[in-house]
Amino acid sequence: MNEPLLLTLRLSALTTLLLMGVGMPLAYWLARSRLRLKPLVEATVALPLVLPPTVLGFYLLLAMGNHGWIGWLWQALFHRRLAFTFTGLVIASVCYSLPFAVQPMQAAFQGISPRLLEAAYTLGATPFRTFWRVVLPNALPGVVAAAVLSFAHTVGEFGVILMVGGNIPGETKTVSIAIYDMVEALEYSQAGRLALVLVLLAYLVLAGFYGFNRRVLQLWRS
């Protein structure tokens, strides 16, 4: 019972970390760019919100299989398989939760007056220093929201994992898959216990987030 839980937490933490790294520059670019192609990028990022996980999972499986381009590239670089591995799951989760990371951060970045950035520039700050010293602190509620939503969304992932990862204990068998497995095997009491753990975990993460938000918002507005 511990193994799927630890796997889920590991997957969610790693996915969140990667999403922050990928999503933050992307969100900042989307918030500032006036490029005409921007709506196309925004639509691509939002696609996982509307597609059934099975559809997304299906394409990811094709891409990560030995004949898919991601799978082929991975094989060439690291001499390892990607489909039905933990690494493959992480990549799939990053794609699946991308909108949950990008959209709150983009909204937060857009809410920051360009005057603040310009003020920092006139005070001698480079764009990089301006981002860390002015943009990020003022977008903090949005950034935390992005991290929490990415984490929680990955914890609750099922369809994509089933498609891309299958059901390998210790490698791809996360809590949601394990629960499905137990129910299939008519192990209702075990399934119930694991489901309760997941509910509590998700609840605590969200409650913590809303508590943080209220305190931050109070601080910001007062």
Binding site: S113, L116, E118, A119, A120, Y121, T122, L123, A125, P137
Partner: protein, 354 residues
């Protein structure tokens, strides 16, 4: 001696901003109605926007040169910029706002002290009044020891009483610093109060540049007269006798008098119109159509038969003694030296309903 020499062009939608300007020591005010390009000009000086053509030189060093492909980035120009909404960093205290661009802690202390902000160092911007926020914005801009201070409508969001007080404080501060300042405002009165040199911008072009006295009393065009708050701007013609003809009214004007037959626009400030006892040279008969009390006197709007309207400000006691009620007829004298001629009548003010 010019500190900044500017000659730039920039297209802004339908507007072409084309400005030649020399900024000297002291305060230079750039005045114009909204949409005249004044804020864009300021942003070009700071390096926040790039002109399409031209040059910006500071003390012989090129900040911008379209031909040579020079565009010194805003960070390297060392200009202080005070935004119209102040743009204070909301997540930083007053002290840390001022410290953001400062080179040393001593500078921060000196900057806070200079603007009387010592007691507010630990407050956040949202805890400050508008006047205090303005002082923090100025202190923050000065803490980088800039070559030049640029201010974009710094007084526009303040209430009138506070504005009057801060005008005084700003004058004192500017004297102490000896720093060249370029101030952008839509208020010509504010510009003339604060600046040594006033540049009037209209539709992207400089229509007059000079000392406040010339701008207020000798406006170059009807647009400047309008911005200068002169209510009496009219069209007229020069008669063979050298008089100004305003409808049936003939007025003597101070030399130099334009060629006979020229169409001119002319103006007179409301407070320069005098009350006369009866007919005489440069005296017109006018019927009062409205009356309002100002601190400086009664403001009377009068109709001159066959010519047009005149607005006069008369001392309270004098206006009451003369029985200047609505409907009353008055004799008003327009002194020749107060009549200012502005070249050919363009008709543009009439189109705008002024």
């Amino acid at each position: 001696m010019a500190i900044l020499e500017v000659s730039i062009q920039k297209r802004l939608g339908d507007l072409l901003l084309a400005v030649d300007l020399a900024v000297g020591p002291g305060v230079t005010a750039v005045v114009g109605p909204s949409g005249s390009g004044k804020t864009t000009l300021l942003r070009c000086l700071a390096g926040l926007e790039r002109p399409d053509q031209g040059r910006i030189d500071r003390a012989g060093e090129a900040w911008f040169d379209a031909q040579a492909g020079v565009n010194r980035p805003v960070q390297a120009r060392r200009v202080g910029f005070v935004f119209s909404d102040y743009a204070l960093f909301p997540h930083l205290t007053v002290r840390r706002n001022v410290a953001f661009g400062a080179r040393s802690g001593a500078q921060v202390d000196a900057g806070l002290a200079r603007l009387g902000l010592e007691a507010l160092g630990d407050r956040y911007p949202r805890e400050l009044s508008a006047g205090e926020q303005q002082r923090v914005a100025i202190a923050r801009a000065l803490a980088t020891e800039p070559h030049l201070l640029l201010m974009d409508e710094p007084f526009s969001s303040l209430d009138p009483h506070l504005k009057e007080r801060l005008y005084g404080e700003f004058g004192t501060l500017q004297q102490d610093l000896g720093l060249p300042v370029v101030l952008v405002t839509h208020d010509l009165r504010e510009a003339c109060l604060l600046a040594a040199q006033v540049v009037v911008l209209h539709a992207g072009r400089v229509i007059q540049a000079g000392v406040p006295r010339d701008i207020l009393y000798r406006p170059a065009t009807p647009e400047v007269a309008y911005l200068a708050g002169i209510p009496n701007v009219h069209a007229g013609a020069i008669a063979p006798s050298g008089h100004l003809e305003w409808g049936p009214v003939r007025l003597a004007v101070a030399p130099p008098v334009p060629l006979s037959g020229s169409m001119v626009s002319w103006c007179i400030r409301a407070e320069q119109i005098e009350l006369a006892d009866g007919p005489g040279p440069n005296v017109v008969e006018a019927v009062v159509t409205s009356r309002g009390l100002l601190g400086s006197g009664y403001r009377l709007t009068c109709q001159v038969a066959g010519a047009g309207a005149l607005q006069a400000i008369l001392p309270v006691a004098q206006a009451e003694r003369s029985g200047a009620q609505i409907g009353a007829a008055l004799w008003l004298r327009l002194p020749p030296e107060a009549l200012h001629l502005m070249g050919e009548w363009s008709g543009r003010l009439a189109e705008r309903g002024l």
